[in-house]
Amino acid sequence: MTLLAFMILAALAVSGFLLNRSAALAIQAGGTRTHSLAYFHGLYALLSVLVPVFVVICVYLVLKTPVINGMVIGGLPDGVLDDMSAGQVDLVLATIQSITRGQTFGTPPDWQLAAAERLTSLYAGADLLMVVVVAALSAVILFFVRRQVAAEFRARQAAERIVHGLMVACSLVAILTTVGIVFALVYEAYRFFEMVPVMDFLFGTRWEPQIPIRADQVAAVGAFGWLPVILGTVVIGTVAMLIATPIGLLTAIYLNEFAPKSVRAVVKPVLEILSGVPTVVYGFFAILVVAPALRGTGADLGIAVSSNTALAAGGVMGIMLIPFISSFADDALTAVPRSLRDGSLALGATRGETMLKVLFPAAIPGIVGGILLAVSRAIGETMIVVMAAGLIARMTINPLDSVTTVTVQIVTLLIGDTAFDNPKTLAAFALGLMLFILTLGINILALRIVRKYREIYD
C-alpha cells in the first residue's frame, strides 16, 4: 500500500511537471514572453506536489504503528489489563499481533481474537485512507498550481525557494540528530535516575546489573555504581595509549624528517589500512591470536594472565590507533613554519636535534590535540572490547586481570530483547550519557587546543 502511495505521488508529480510546462509553452507559442522558462514552471509544479505529500506519507509511516497499537490497547474490554505492568501490556500486544499473522499458541481468549481482528481492519483501513489522502492532496495541489501558470508568474524564484528550503532542511538534519541523541540519552537516563539515585551511580563501587526479572526470582539485588566500569575503561585505554602513542609519534617523526619520498609513499597508505580495518576484525584478532599468545607467555613466565586480559583488548586497540596518532602528529610537524626548521639546521644542529628540540616542541599542541582525540576514540571503541574484554566489573588497575568497559556494559545490557521499564536496560542509557559527555568534552578540548595552536603561526 505504501508503495502504491509513492507510485501515485510520483505519477501525479511528473504529470504536474508536464502539465505546467506545456501550459507555459502554450503561452509562449501564443507570442507572449513568459517571465520564467517553461522548465521552471514544470519544476515548480513537481516540487509543490512532491514535497508536502512526501512529508505526509513519512509522518503517516512513523505514526501508524504507535497510534494503531494505542487504539487496540485502548479498545480492549475493561478489566483485562488491570494490574498489568507496562511490560505485560507489551506482551499482550505482541500476542495480538502474532494472532494477526496466524501464529496462535493454544486457543487465545475471545477478547484477543476480537482485538486481532480490530488490528487487521485498522491497518487495512489506515492504509486505504492514506492512499486516498495522498491521491486527493496531490490532485488538489496540482489543480491550484496549474492555475498559477501565467506569463507574469515568477516560477523560477518560486521553485528555487522550495529548493532552498529543502537544502536548509537537509542541514538541519545534523542538528536534529544531535538533539535526538541528547534527548534520548537524557530522557532514558532520567528515568534510570528515578529508580537509582544519582549518587549511587556516580560514586558506587559495585556494578552488578543482574537484577531479578520476575518478582520471585532469586538473584542479586543489583548495584549500579559506575566507578569499576569507568576504571576498567581507563585501564584498557591506558594500555592502548601506551602502545599507540610512542609507535605513532616515532612513525610520524621518521616519516616527517628522515624518510625518503618513496618510503613515505608506501608507508602512509599501508598505515591507513590499519585504520580502515573494521573493529570487529580487530576484536576477532584479539581473541584468536593476541589473548592466547599473552596467556601462553604468562604461563611460561609463571604469571597468571586472565583469559580476557585488559592487555589483549588494550594492545589491539593501540594498534588500531597508531595511524590516527601518526597522521595527526605528521600534520602538526608539517605545519611548523619552515623558517624554524631552516634556522635550526643553519646553526649546525643535526636533523635529529632539529626534530626533537625545535620542531617537536613547536608542534606539541597539535600533537596533544591528536592524542586527546585518540583517547576519546579509545573510550568510545566498542567491538574490540566487547569481544576481547571481560564482563565482570572489578575495582582493579591490574592490566593482567579481566576488566570491563562502559561500552561493553552498554552492549551486554541491551543485547537481546529489551524492556524499557527496568533499571537494567535504562542503566545502559545512563552509561551512554556519561560516555557521550566524556567523549564530547575531550573532543571539544582537543579541537580547542589544535585551533589555538594554529593561530600562533597564522
Partner: protein
Amino acid sequence: MADITNSGTGGPRKSSLTESSAKIAKRKRADLILQGFGIGAILTAFTVLFILVASLVSTGYTAFVQTHVTLQVFVDPAEVAEERLPRGGFQEVLTASLLSNLPDADPESDARAVRNILSNGAQFYLRDRIVANPSLIGQTISITVPVSDPFDQLNKGNVDRATPEAQRRVNDREIGWFDALDTAGMIATPLNWGLITNADSRFPELAGLRGALVGTFWALLTCFLISFPIGIGAAIYLEEFAPKNKLSDFIEVNINNLAAVPSVVFGLLALAVFLNWFGLPRSAPFVGGLTLALMTMPTIIIATRAALKAVPPSIREAALGVGASKQQVVFGHVLPLAMPGILTGTIIGLAQALGETAPLLLIGMNAFITSAASSPFDASTALPTQIFIWADSPERGFVSRTSAAILVLLGFLVLMNGMAIYLRNKFERRW
C-alpha cells in the same frame, strides 16, 4: 695559525664542523638512534598488520573449500513414499548407503555413529531433490552432500591423528571409516559455494553468508539513499548559500561533533528513537541503514564541501556572468564538476558504514536467522554482525568460517576503496 694547529692538544676547545670529534660522532649516533626507533616503530606496525592478515588467511582459507561425500543412494520406497513427501526417511536412506560402503560397521549398533559422518543438513539436500522429481523414488541416484564438521576438520588436517583418542572429536574407528570412504574416491573438497549461497545455520558445515550479505545490501542501500541526497543538500547549503551567522556556525560545529561521537551512542539513539518511540521493526536492515546513514552523513558532508571548494571561482563567475541564477550555477555547473570528489567521499563513507558493528548489535541485527531477508523490513543480520555471531560460536568449524567471513568483508572493503581511488584518479581535475 698556531692556535688552530695546536687546538687538538691544549685547553677546552669548541667543536668544528669540518673536523670529526667524539662529540660530533655522539650527536650523529643520536641521530641514527632516533632514525632506528622510527624505523622500528614502522616495522612494528607492519609486523602486526602482517600477523593480522596472515592469521586470518591461515585460519580462513580452509572455509573456502568444504569436504563433500558423493554417495550412490538407493531411494528405498519403504522409507520414502511419494504421498508422504516432503516427509520421509531421508536420513535412513543416506545412512544405508553409507553402511553399504563400510563393511566393518555394524548396521544396528553403528548406525548412529555412521550417520554422524554426514552433515545434519545432508538429508535436506536429498529431500529437495526428491521433492523436485518424485520419479527418483525406487532408483539409485548419485548425490553429493557435505560431511559434518568433525570430519571436515579431519579432512582439512585440523585434527592431529597422533593425539590420544579421548581428546579428539573423532575416534579411531570413525577415522577408519572416513579413510575407507576416502580411498574409495567418494570424498572430495570442492570450492565451498555454500559459504555465499547458504544462510546461517547452527552447523558450521552448512552455515553461509547469504543472509548477512543480503542484510548488508539492504542496509547499505538504505544508508546510501538517505545519506547521499541529504548530505549533498546540506553541504551545498553550507558551502554555497548559508549566510555567515550563528545558526550556520552551530550546524558546522554539530556536524564536526557528530563525526566524533562513538558509534555505540548512535546505536542507543536508534534503539530509543527508531525502535522504542517510532515502533520500527527490530533487527530490520532498514533501521540499520537509517542509523548508518546518520553516521555516514558527516563524512559525505565534509567530502562534498571539500569537492565544492575545489571548483575554481572562475566557473561560478562565468556562469553568473551569462545570466544564470545562483542555483543554476551550483546545480548546472559546480555540482557536476564536483561529482567525482563527492562520489569518492561517499564510497569511503559507505565502506566505513559496511564495517560498523556496534550500532547494529543494539538494534538486534545479531539474531539467529536462517533465511535471507526478502525486504529491508525483515529481520536479518549484516556481514559484521554475522562475524560477531560466528566468533562467539564454540564449534571449531566456526573459527575458520569467521576468518573466511572477515576475508569476504575485507574483500568488499578493498573493492570499495579501490573504486574510490580509481574514481579519484580517473576524474580528478587539476585546475
